[in-house]
Point group: C2
Chain length 451, copies 2
């Protein structure tokens, strides 16, 4: 839709062939009554009808510096609100640590910083780093570390108010006389899980402020669609992509009837997983890259539930992490304070957990998410119901979540056929990447026509 | 209002004497047409009329664990949304560092973590901490530090994608070939400003998720007021607080006429700064604590502006910091993506900067905020207009922002007079503190009546 919109603005005439009834692809928001068809199952969303009860089954957050996407939101009047990645009230759970009990995130962050600051200040004061630090540096870095880790006057770390107070996550002791005991350094570093988890929200794509459209991610798809609707042919399943003497010929089925469309150029944004099974005239090199392009086997499941996470645990939005297959639990960032909300009970990025998830029936996925989720939130069993899942490897016309191979040949056109999509960008898996890739294709076409 | 609401629920009859036309005190949101009267000036808010163009002149954020306040929001149907403290696209500015140029927050965070991880891993590998760490610990902590600081394979820190790419905060180089150069450790630790700023959003009261009511903080005051409106006497300025044989007598002026009210108990929530000038029968100890209770001289100023921070710098909500008197610049957390927004051009916590701010005329405050703000955002001069300020030390019936002394005597009643307010809580300056203090007073009354 980006290429059609922008090429039209440049004076080109465009036709968008959309395989389904509505454009947007993996930008998909599921609400009451929506149907999720996979290659071997069909589910109907049984959420209550309510503007705040939605499930962003594909992309669900926008980095603040994804400025082309955000520029379209601004231009189209798509309202935005904050998406929280790092909620210090959320949980971190490893089956192998702390007796399998989840730990409130604030404790992990506070105690990791506290231990690092304690050890580094010790090393500094033992003159272990005198080759690196001047006497003035040492004084300054100690002052910084005291604040960084909330060390006491003796540069010890004996816990911090940053880590909260016992029971606070439940009912809130207001006395605050006694701080929660700090986690032992050893417990914070033994597993890969603990070693890596505190870095996540520092990544450039995951730093605050993260954003989401008010009302669901598909507000963006619908806003684009409205602007290209006259050029859009829905329910058009491409069956052949051919080269002609001076251009391209696309053959597609629409409502059972084969149709052909001749054009100067084709910009093909079909995922490689789907494209590899469409009859084409591509070069051997292009075919090979398409055939071997890897995609993440990501999946999600969502439940409607009483907001026990807010009401009982002061968790407003954000993400809990676990070493179990479900990987993450997402709390809704919208409708805060309402009675019901949509809890994402699993967000599996891919790997064997994603393949397993895709291999399960919808009911098996529900059972698994509830069983694993109850290790973080026992309430999930009684409260979370009407689960609906999506396994992107099994969604027709997608057959995968996002590209994970490094593109090369597909960045260059095959005669008059150009390729675009998130999988061909430096931001794979992000909507901004799809836009950047569209711009790349547009640039190539404009350059050719200007030559 | 909390005491009246809850005591009424317990069967008591209550009367609220409110000095102004509307209850809520420092919970105050300023919109188009509102008037801010200080003891020696009057301003009219010239913002455009728009639901998203408001200025929370008092409290402006709610910690996620302030569960009594949030419980009332839930009960009253006050909608909530996320408030951002820590926006990595915001700026950190010291007049004495980096040539006076503001630094994008992501760089400070990434490079501080990077340098700390580099130095600690060096010390660990030089066996400087072998008395603290086992061989296994050393392997694990190095793995953790690589992630913590984004170190390279040689455990060096040469900058990180977490710090962004040159120009990204402006127009976004999408090539990402070259990372921004890291800041030198020395530059990150020389001043108290840099030593302390990265700790702010880790504090228990400032951790994510932070919240704000949709539409302005006074949605909470209005929701309370609706529920106690039958017991509320507005425009009632208390002039005397007296003890009687079996209770209390309050004398107040209303519309120029003195009135007296006899009751079993008084719960006095008048700020100490105001209370010390009201005729009373308090004990000498209570009088002394009231007379000497200190308050923060906090103030804020807000401007209506084009959202240049979003459109030109990808800053959506959050706070920039500076060593200048204005201390902070707050970007609106609501109406993201809209054309205009309310920029808080200064939030001064108190101290000499707060006293100076209070001593200035409204126009002097505007001039100062624009001059200082332009060192972070040159656009502020042409874009930010219609400034309106509030200096809490000069707001009638408040005469201060929040209590800063440790309460003692005022926690105990003076015969039938009980005291409450944020200044008497463990959460001074927070609305949750005012509620906790109200509960304390209620508990004392209920206990006495149960004796």
């Amino acid at each position: 839709m980006t290429t059609a919109l922008e090429l039209t603005r440049l004076g080109y005439s465009c036709t968008i062939l959309e395989a389904t009834s509505s454009a947007g692809g993996r930008n998909r928001t599921i609400r009451a009554g929506d149907i999720v068809n996979e290659t071997d199952s069909s589910q109907t969303c049984m959420f209550d009808f309510d503007d705040d009860l939605y499930f962003n089954a594909g992309p669900a957050r926008i980095a603040h510096h994804h400025e082309f996407l955000l520029g379209y939101c601004r231009e189209f009047g798509v309202a935005l609100e904050v998406f929280t990645n790092d909620n210090r009230a959320a949980l971190m759970h490893s089956a192998n640590s702390h007796g399998g009990q989840p730990i409130v995130s604030r404790r992990v962050h506070a105690d990791t910083r506290g231990n690092i600051a304690r050890l580094l200040s010790m090393a500094v004061n033992q003159s272990a780093l005198d080759a690196e630090l001047t006497a003035a540096d040492k004084i300054n870095i100690i002052a910084m570390l005291r604040n960084f880790g909330d060390l006491d006057g003796s540069l010890n770390y004996t816990g911090s108010a940053r880590g909260g107070f016992p029971g606070q996550e439940d009912v809130g002791s207001r006395q605050r006389g006694e701080r929660v005991n700090p986690l032992a350094l050893q417990d914070l570093i033994t597993e890969t899980f603990w070693q890596q988890r505190q870095g996540f929200a520092h990544g450039l794509e995951q730093q605050p402020t993260m954003l989401q459209p008010v009302g669901g991610m598909d507000r963006i798809a619908r806003a684009f669609e409205t602007r290209v609707i006259n050029d859009l042919v829905a329910d058009a399943q491409v069956t052949e992509i051919r080269k002609t003497a001076n251009g391209v010929r696309i053959v597609y089925n629409r409502l059972g009837a084969p149709t052909q469309l001749d054009a100067d150029y084709c910009i093909c944004t079909i995922p490689a997983t789907v494209l590899r099974n469409i009859v084409n005239d591509f070069s051997a090199l292009h075919r090979a890259e398409i055939a071997n392009f890897n995609y993440a086997a990501a999946g999600k499941i969502a439940f409607q539930s009483r907001r026990f996470w807010e009401q009982d645990h002061n968790i407003y939005g954000g993400i809990s992490w676990t070493t179990q297959d479900i990987t993450q639990i997402w709390y809704p960032n919208n409708g805060l304070g309402q009675t019901s909300g949509i809890l994402v009970g699993a967000y599996i990025f891919g790997g064997s957990a994603g393949v397993n998830f895709a291999g399960q029936t919808p009911q098996q996925r529900i059972n698994g998410a509830l069983a694993q989720g109850s290790n973080l939130h026992p309430e999930i069993n009684g409260q979370a119901a009407r689960g609906i899942s999506i396994a992107w490897p099994k969604i027709p016309f997608q057959l995968g979540a996002w590209g994970t191979s490094n593109p090369a040949t597909l960045l260059t056109p095959d005669e008059n056929i150009f390729f675009a999509g998130e999988h061909l960008s430096i931001l794979q898996g992000w909507q901004e990447g799809a836009i950047l890739s569209a711009y790349h294709a547009i640039d190539l076409i404009v350059a050719r026509d200007s030559a």
